[in-house]
């Protein structure tokens, strides 16, 4: 048999024999019979969960998440504080057993139990208040202003404590500093932007002037273009004619004739020289 099969069989068997589970029934009915105990149990549960949330909040790095968690905790606290008076009323009442099937479940309230319940109820508001929700760090807030990166969160859900007034005062100091810094930075940015805009104006003016200058030079370039074209064609013509002329001058037939005539003249000169020498 595989594990899964075993688990399913165990579940089926447990379900079948649920009604014989004394402890659980006891737990349920104890809570079910007693309205006070029920409410108290739920309030207790909420307080525990709020404490857990506070722990996660204190360890959380993300400021937005911290703010969200603290807001939840505060809301829970407010709700629980509203339940506290109900609990107090219930604590004073005598308990009446609803279910008569389980005879040993019928409870009457003994005096000790009454007093314990009262104590529990009285202790409850303190417990609720003591859940850390991010608003109890008023004392250390002024110390944390040396680091300018950290800022205290904007508080919307602050419960109506007596501490509200003093915290508010501290907040305005911090927000004043913040506002001052913001103004200074804004002024510096404005100055920088002014300088940039001046530079851009100069650039724009220069660009416009360059544009006009180029427009001015376009027809001149066209003129130069046509004139240079004419000059090159003239040169080509001249070159061709010159080539023809030079070829004519240097043609080999003329050259041979020149050499022959030169030899003839030298021969005649030599002949004359010989004749005269005699």
């Amino acid at each position: 048999m595989s594990v899964i099969d075993i688990l399913t069989r165990v579940d089926a068997i447990c379900k079948k024999y649920e009604k014989y589970d004394v402890e659980r029934l006891n737990g349920d009915n104890v809570a079910g019979d007693d309205a006070f105990a029920r409410l108290y149990a739920s309030v207790d549960l909420d307080v525990e969960s709020a404490l857990q949330k506070a722990e996660t909040a204190s360890q959380e790095k993300n400021r937005a998440a911290v703010v969200a968690l603290n807001a939840e905790i505060r809301r829970t606290k407010a709700r629980l504080l509203e339940e506290v008076p109900k609990l107090q009323r219930l604590a004073l009442k005598k308990n009446i057993a609803f279910c008569e099937i389980f005879l040993y479940q019928v409870k009457g309230l003994s005096k000790e139990e009454l007093s314990t319940r009262n104590d529990l109820v009285l202790a409850l508001p303190d417990r609720i208040q003591s859940i850390p929700d991010g608003s109890t760090n008023g004392a250390k807030a002024t110390g944390s202003w040396t680091a300018s990166a950290s800022r205290t969160e904007i508080r919307f859900d602050s419960t109506s404590d007596g501490r509200f007034e003093s915290e508010y005062f501290q907040q305005t100091e911090e927000s004043n500093q913040f506002r001052q810094e913001y103004e200074m930075r804004k002024m510096k940015q404005d100055q920088g932007l002014d300088i940039i805009s001046e530079g851009l104006d100069t650039l724009q003016n220069m660009a416009h002037d360059m544009n006009e200058e180029l427009d001015r030079q376009v027809p001149l370039m066209d003129e130069i273009d046509s004139k240079v074209d004419k000059a090159t064609s003239d040169l080509k013509n001249t070159n061709v004619r010159l080539k023809e002329t030079v070829n004519q001058l240097r043609s080999s037939r003329n050259f041979c004739i020149d050499i022959i005539l030169l030899c003839i003249i030298l021969g005649i000169a030599a002949y004359l020289y010989n004749v005269l020498k005699k």
Binding site: E198, D201, N205, N211, E212, D215
Partner: protein, 284 residues
């Protein structure tokens, strides 16, 4: 030079003056004299050479010689000769049908005469601009307009300067040089304000606003602000407006004027306006 002289003078054996050779010889003589720095003689030689070229109907060379003669006259300091020679040279260029060198010659003459005879210089500038405008080459005239305007301002003839600037605006309009046009209009308005003639400045602004490009340009906006600051009599505002661009992009002569704004008493302007309102009240 006497040698050349006898070549041209008609004599018994010579029926036609031999201008060609004479011109060549004159040119040689002129170059020689210039080299030796005998400017007077060189100038005369250039004149005669130019006349010779004219006679053999080559106006281009004639004009060139005339220009050389004129520059020598400038060095000698014969100012009326300078203007005459340059004008003659420009006419010869126009005979060739080349307007650009013609206006260049006049421009050179004008810049030579700026210090000594500024009226003549201005006239030369304006003639040069007209030559170019006839030929449709307004683009080249911008420099001439600029020089002429600065001469007028130096002479403190501000109305003339403003009129010339408006003409410059027209020329710029024809060749679609929007930036120059707006700058010319803004300069004209500033000159009117400098003359403390607020009505004239207003009128000028209204006229120039007909041109759409000016109305929507930086220069138009600056003019609007200036005029409204004048109306309110706000001296600080005027001084503040004169600092940054677009006034800094104008000609430096105009910038100097703009820095001196506001001239005179702004209260006078206000009083004039008040008087007008009182009159209206009397009528009604």
């Amino acid at each position: 030079m006497g040698f050349f002289y006898c070549r041209t003078k008609l004599s018994f054996t010579r029926w036609n003056a031999d201008w060609k050779n004479a011109t060549a010889l004159y040119e040689q003589a002129a170059v020689g004299y210039r080299f030796k720095k005998e400017n007077e003689k060189a100038k005369e030689a250039f004149e005669k050479a130019s006349k010779g070229q004219e006679m053999i109907s080559s106006p281009w060379d004639a004009a060139k010689h005339m220009e050389s003669a004129a520059s020598l006259a400038k060095e000698l300091g014969h100012w009326n000769e300078v203007s005459d020679f340059y004008r003659k040279a420009s006419e010869l260029y126009r005979e060739c049908g080349r307007s650009q060198p013609a206006s260049d010659a006049l421009g050179k003459g004008a810049s030579a005469l700026e210090d000594t005879n500024p009226d003549e210089a201005v006239r030369l500038y304006i003639d040069a601009c007209e030559i170019l405008e006839e030929d449709g080459k307004e683009q080249m005239a911008f420099d001439l307009y600029r020089a002429a305007t600065s001469t007028y301002v130096k002479l403190e003839r501000y109305t003339d300067a403003a009129t010339l600037l408006l003409r410059w605006g027209v020329a710029a309009d024809k060749c679609n040089a929007v930036n120059s046009q707006c700058k010319a209009y803004l300069s004209a308005i500033i000159i009117y304000l400098y003359m403390h003639d607020f009505q004239q400045a207003q009128k000028c602004y209204n006229d120039c606003s007909q041109v759409g490009a000016f109305l929507s340009s930086d220069q138009g906006r600056c003019a609007r602000k200036l005029l409204s600051a004048y109306e309110e009599g706000d001296i600080e505002e005027i001084k503040r407006l004169a600092q940054p661009s677009p006034i800094t992009h104008l000609d430096h002569v105009i910038i100097k004027l703009a820095r001196k704004l506001p001239t005179g008493d702004l209260k006078e302007l206000e009083k004039e306006e008040d008087k007008e309102t009182l009159d209206e009240n009397d009528l009604t």
